[in-house]
Assembly symmetry: C2
Homo-oligomer: 451 residues x 2
């Protein structure tokens, strides 16, 4: 039995079905919404017009799942998990009818829910989240109806900056209101500053260090402005991108173990800790950060898919593990690419690691090659040992995916000195003779040696 019909849940169901046929394993899945297996990460690009049809974001429809012998119950919300008796209570969203269904093995994939600020006006028409396909459609409907061209995005994390791009692409004047000192708090502020400057270069108004206190509505009841401690920003549409929290109300009520970030805690096989027959994956769980050794909550489709794959294999009688993450993420605002992996300075300090930090400027291609674009790479290494701790990259085309080099090196526990010898792909259209990541590693190695 699977609760939740998106990435983790349906990956688990599909993989379990690959492992065992319908004669051996019955699979029931509950989804409270209208869609299954869709790319929530793609919503900003649909809103921005890069993706033209909602259905392009759907990897597999309910019908396709059913054709693979998965008993998928749409618009059916699970309202209680009874771990002791191995059953869940589910409610038909449309009719309101409720009933209990028993399971032998349970997969919890309830995802995350967007943080909605508890303030006046937060629920007014014209204020939108972008977590689900329904949210995306509602926002597009608002954009189609709205006369004005002023958009305010609240929050400057991945969703915030991606929605800023989407709204710029739709021809809006965009203001991003951000609580932090700089946008992209997943970067150190010095790197976030580069994002800030680039966003302003794109015509986006960036307001940092600002706490939104309320949203004002007009006579028609629709949102008309975003109010912070010390200013007011007129808005014809407001997009909330202030992060998500694990959707673990059901799990908590069932007495299942939650971590400090509110996510379910699992073992390496994605089995809920202390449980024999309950697995969990995707945005509702916490994952082990292999660099800090601490649990984190990261809502990201690529992890959800891996979790589903691991759970499906284990539920299907095989063996697989999800060892953890190193915290890799990549994003873009128009042609600006932003990437990070591992620890920021404040993460390293929090876990008590002493480190050296270097920042270098280089280019995506050989300097003499056309379209070589500037790139800034920041690298953190542990003092003495030289172990790589983290990398942050801000640049243009060709910058973002270079973070994968560091992601693999982090996973392997490499030192920056070892990284200086990495045999990376070189040709003038692809890289300077020293790849920017190698330039950073060399500089970091020098600092570590002197430390």
């Amino acid at each position: 039995m699977v609760i939740g019909g998106d990435a983790a849940g349906m990956s688990a169901a599909s993989q379990a079905r690959r492992m065992k046929g319908p004669d051996e394993l019955e699979i029931v899945a509950f989804e409270r919404g209208h869609f299954t297996s869709y790319s929530a990460c793609g919503i900003p690009y649909w809103v921005g017009g890069d993706v033209t049809e909602r259905d392009q974001l759907i990897a597999r429809t309910p019908e396709e799942h059913r054709a693979r012998d998965i008993d998928l119950r749409m618009r059916t919300e699970v309202t209680e998990i009874d771990v002791g008796r191995g059953r869940v209570r589910a409610r038909d969203v449309d009719s309101g009818a409720e009933s209990w269904t028993s399971y032998d093995k349970l997969v919890i994939a309830t995802g995350a829910r967007p943080i909605r600020p508890d303030m006046p006006g937060a629920d007014a028409p014209g204020v939108h989240g972008v977590q689900t396909l329904d949210d995306g459609q509602a926002l597009l409907d608002t954009l189609a109806r709205t006369r004005g061209r002023r958009a305010v995005v609240v929050g400057a994390g991945y969703i915030g900056v991606e929605m800023a791009e989407a709204l710029i692409n739709r021809g809006y004047e965009v203001t991003v209101v951000n609580r932090g000192k700089e946008p992209m708090s997943t970067l150190d502020p010095d790197m976030g500053r580069l994002v800030h400057e680039a966003m302003e270069g794109l015509g986006i108004t960036m307001v940092n260090d600002a706490e939104v206190t309320k949203l004002l509505t007009g006579d028609d009841g629709r949102v008309r402005a975003v109010v912070t401690d010390d200013a007011e920003y007129p808005a014809d549409v407001v997009v909330l991108g202030i992060g998500v929290r694990p959707e673990t109300g059901l799990a908590k009520a069932a007495g299942l173990p939650l971590g400090n970030h509110g996510g379910l805690l699992t073992d390496l096989a994605m089995r809920v800790r202390g449980q024999r027959n309950v697995w969990a994956g995707g945005d509702c769980v916490e994952v082990l950060d292999l660099v800090s050794g601490q649990e984190r909550h990261i809502a990201l489709g690529t992890h959800a898919n891996k979790h589903g794959q691991v759970i499906g294999t284990n539920v299907g009688g095989g063996y697989a593990t999800f060892p953890g993450v190193v915290g890799t993420a990549v994003s873009k605002v128009c042609d600006l690419e932003i990437a990070r992996t591992g620890l920021r300075e404040k993460d390293a300090l929090r876990v008590g690691l002493q480190f050296e930090s270097v920042t270098i400027e280089s280019t995506s291609r050989a300097g003499y090659y056309p379209d070589a674009s500037p790139m800034t790479v920041k690298m953190l290494a542990e003092r003495r040992t030289g172990r790589l701790l983290g990398v942050q990259i801000v640049g243009r085309e060709g910058a973002g995916k270079r973070v994968d080099i560091a992601a693999v090196a982090l996973t392997a526990g490499m030192t920056v000195e070892q990284m200086t010898a990495l045999d990376l792909g070189y040709a003038p259209p692809f890289s300077p003779v020293w790849d920017p990541v190698l330039v950073a590693a060399r500089k970091a190695a020098v600092k570590v040696r002197a430390s």
Copy 2:
């Protein structure tokens, strides 16, 4: 004392100078040509017009080196190394005057020379190599003078395919004549086949399995056709791109140890084996392949620069090593990107490794995202252990540099099962939710488990 003024030699000189000032260390460097520290890898892009000025390819001029207290002697060819007495004999190329100069420490960085076929017509006007800046200028002069628009490239390795692109960009009808079954013999033939098809799609005529027997010249003495075993290809200009050999005549005459590929053999510090005061690096040495455990000859600017860095550090009294390579290379023909790292099938067979091989098709970005381009990834893993052995990639924009993921994983000795859990950068504009390299790793892991 440094012999050779390009990447390895002058990197070594510069790094040694950084380590020790002119009061502590005198540095003499001999270069027989007109240029120092230039990007030979950039020549195809200069010929093709992407790079407009020759001098853009020069990272540091003789004057710049001299300004850093390096006694650089241009147009001075070393004709003999006397290791026993610690001296070299050098000849002024213009005057012919010869003299001996003593050294305490010697760095051999004599590079590689292009293989020129020993056949009639190979030295005719209109036949060009592209190893040096002088070669590039001579080819550009020929192109400027030539009325006809038919170019034949002999060889279909990196230089061959890059020159095919350069000549297409110059408006030539290009025929590539290749000895092997498919172009890019650094790939397995099944992957080379994809390059073959793409090159034909670009309007390049690809002739495989063809041995060039002679070049025909016209009444004016200039080349007019390339003749193979069974055909004749009219040519107004011919470019030879059939590889290079280490330039180790001097080293051999001095009794220094050469490997099976004709390159100098060194230890990890880049010191010539059996020598205390002689180092060597760049295109004239063999390097350890960390995957096969065997020595190889790879002429590539990125290695030469690393060697120079290591040598300069050691000569300057520090300590650094070059552990070896995994055989990463990346190239492009117009918008086709070609990359490889590690072992091909035939390499694995030669060293006695049993392996599983998988090939997958995926896309550079999420399938629904604009400009998602198809990409083929081939992955080899050792049977039983699952250790990654090699990766080959052919695709369009965003394909080539993904080979770095595999290059780091190879260096770290990862298994394909471990790779399936890699936390790589994901967002729809950058990758499908499963990066193509992860898709290949998953499939390879399944095969290894079943093996």
